[in-house]
Symmetry: C2
């Protein structure tokens, strides 16, 4: 269909013209649509049935330009193709952990998908110290399955490259290349940071070892096509409630390093941890929740590693390697060492990418709400300085980590001074 941007009336006509959605709103139903979301890059409508059973769906359509800047800043609508493709692939691999897709339309750059009633974006409940007993299990399953089944460990070379070809996503990659690995660490007009951490920001930008390490992580992000990654898996891309977890917004998806997804998630949990020095003045309450967050970090990694390796053991069809390659005296042990080294390299990447992303949130185009919502700049600076120290060490020390406890210990060590200061006041 030829592209035209929908509004809250034409979206209903569009729904009717489809002739109804499988297992969801039928064409003849009375419907109403509301535009939600910021409508800057995308239009997002909730379309609801006006009568029982009051079913509802999300219709998301890409705009051909950045609306806030007017039509002068065209953006490619193609990003909706990547979002749609990724959603479909994730539905295939981890069906309960992403919204169901009801309908896609490349010409119109839109997707109609499950409305996640009773779910909320994870960032705010984490600030409110909510706990999600199934989250580590769910998200480790999501990552283990989406990463394993799109890697050379499961796919044949021909299958993997065929899939990779459909996920060459240069413009969205460019956004991460610029805003995660480059601009925050040099003069660039969109950067902003708390003036109280001027010295720390300057120090990062002129730390030779760190700049070199960040450049190496950028090279890895740009070249290491390990698996189909979400590529923006922070706690703002995850919706949760007491029983479920849904990963959304995969428009950045491409074949990149697995550690970038895992690093993004764990780094966001650490930033949330740091935000509680301000958000949770009661020391007992704070410590208890911070321990919960570090347990989450450990659980997510350990469950990921265990599930990933289990999938590997159960599925020996991949290009890397056929079972016959390990068929020699001592081959079982050699294969076990290969798996363990492979996963250890992913952990190094988790630290490297997680560290870069932690740093960029402190001095780039956009922080995270967990921290930007701390009103008092002095209180905010406490969390920010810690994030800079932890992020720097994760990047610089990435190759020495042999377990997730190494990354967690860095968090504890750097927070020790602040802990004791808080305890004394």
């Amino acid at each position: 269909m030829t592209y035209r941007a929908l509004d809250q009336n034409s979206v209903i006509d569009y729904m009717r013209d489809l002739g109804g959605l499988d297992e969801n709103i039928p064409a003849a139903a009375a419907m109403q649509a509301d535009e939600v979301g910021d409508g800057n890059l995308n239009l997002v409508f909730i379309v609801r049935e006006c009568e029982a059973p009051y079913r509802s769906v999300i219709l998301k359509q890409a705009l051909p330009y950045l609306r806030v800047a007017g039509e002068s800043w065209p953006l490619t609508r193609e990003r909706m193709r990547f979002e749609t493709q990724a959603l479909l692939k994730q539905n295939e691999l981890a069906p309960e952990l992403v919204p169901h897709v009801y309908h896609t339309d490349d010409g119109m750059s839109l997707v109609i998908m499950e409305y996640l009633a009773n779910y909320e974006v994870m960032r705010r409940p984490l600030v409110a110290r909510k706990r999600f007993p199934h989250f580590a299990d769910h998200i480790s399953t999501f990552m283990a399955r989406t990463l394993f089944f799109t890697s050379d460990l499961y796919l044949t070379g021909v299958e993997k490259k065929g899939l990779q070809a459909t996920f060459i996503n240069p413009h969205l990659c460019k956004i991460q290349e610029d805003f995660v690995f480059t601009n925050p660490f040099m003069q660039s007009e969109e950067n902003n940071w708390n003036p109280l951490i001027d010295n720390e920001v300057r120090a990062v930008r002129s730390n030779s070892d760190l700049k070199l390490a960040i450049a190496e992580m950028k090279a890895a992000y740009m070249t290491n096509g390990q698996a189909l990654i979400h590529s923006d898996l922070h706690t703002g891309s995850i919706m949760v409630n007491g029983s479920g977890t849904k990963v959304i917004d995969p428009e950045f998806a491409f074949f990149g390093p697995m550690g970038f997804d895992i690093g993004a998630l764990l780094e966001n949990l650490v930033l949330n941890y740091l935000s509680h020095f301000a958000h949770t003045p009661d020391a007992d309450e704070r410590r208890a929740y911070q321990e919960y967050l570090l347990d989450l970090v450990r659980e997510i990694w350990q469950q990921f590693a265990a599930k990933f390796e289990e999938l590997w053991l159960q599925n020996s069809r991949g290009e890397l390697m056929p079972a016959a390659y390990w068929d020699f005296p001592g081959g079982t042990e050699a294969f076990a060492r290969f798996r363990s080294r492979y996963i250890a390299e992913v952990l190094h990447d988790v630290a490297g990418f997680g560290g870069c992303k932690m740093l960029r949130r402190m001095m780039g185009i956009v922080s995270v709400w967990d921290i930007s919502s701390i009103d008092d700049p002095t209180e905010r600076a406490i969390a920010e300085r810690l994030a800079i120290r932890i992020g720097s060490r994760w990047v610089l020390e990435r190759k020495r980590f042999t377990s997730i406890d190494g990354l967690i210990d860095v968090v504890r060590e750097e927070c020790r001074t602040v802990e004791s200061r808080h305890d004394n006041t």
Copy 2:
């Protein structure tokens, strides 16, 4: 044009229908065509003018099946698209070092290109101890320019991924994945080797450290999209004469690790070195030529590294990184360290990939003519055992090499026993 396989008559009709080639054979000329080459995967014709100035061209057409196996083994004609695209790109980046392209036809899966009169494939003259005074300069220029200008160091992210998308080459990659990194090291019916080295072959196939390292090199080959590599740059893909060098047959081209090209070349020079224990019985002559070959190995790497770094310094437009990123006190030195670490990593890959390829030539589907032409199995086994020892050490010790001398020292150390044995006889 709809595909049909040409023969020596229809090829001339095809040439006439083109209406003449720029700066080459005009449509009206009297022409004759001869089929050359093995005609197994491709048809190769030399088309010549029958009268002065007797110009000639090569017309190369992909067959849709492996001719020797009949039509039962279909192969994708698409490989000609990769060869053509790669030739055009290489002509743009290193114009004197590849055949000129006069005409391409995707529908017919053919390319018409420069006939390299007075050139010969490099393998045989190396066995005949010929020297090529310009070769190190030429081939290092070819590699430095084709690899640098297709990498993230020169291209923007969007440019590079656009180019990468046109070089997703799954079927040809699969051939290298199988025959370089997998099948030679396990039970596979096409493998063949000298029965005299049975023990050594068995030892490689059950050496856990080596198998693990080879699996890691395969993973790197499959995921590390650093630059547009030739991906089959052995001395059988290079034509030479006293003054010129031409790289041919780039149908395996895709975005892979730079070290795979350099490693293939250097490893082939080492295999040629080893072949002279049999081909050149005169000790003085042999030593002199072997020294020449090791000088070549050193020169090629050192000139490559110097030219590559110089291109990097002269062209600061690439995604990795903008000049502003290094604009801080000490930034010049940090950038120098980044370049030097980047090139050091390429050297590690040279050793890793070169070693894998050296091994596979001893126990896989096909050896190299340098060594397979040694008639006496006992003499051949001397070279083969050395290749296995050197290849194994290159792979296993790859990360400790800080200069090309490290790789060369391994060759000298392993050859010492044979040298002295030869000297005593």
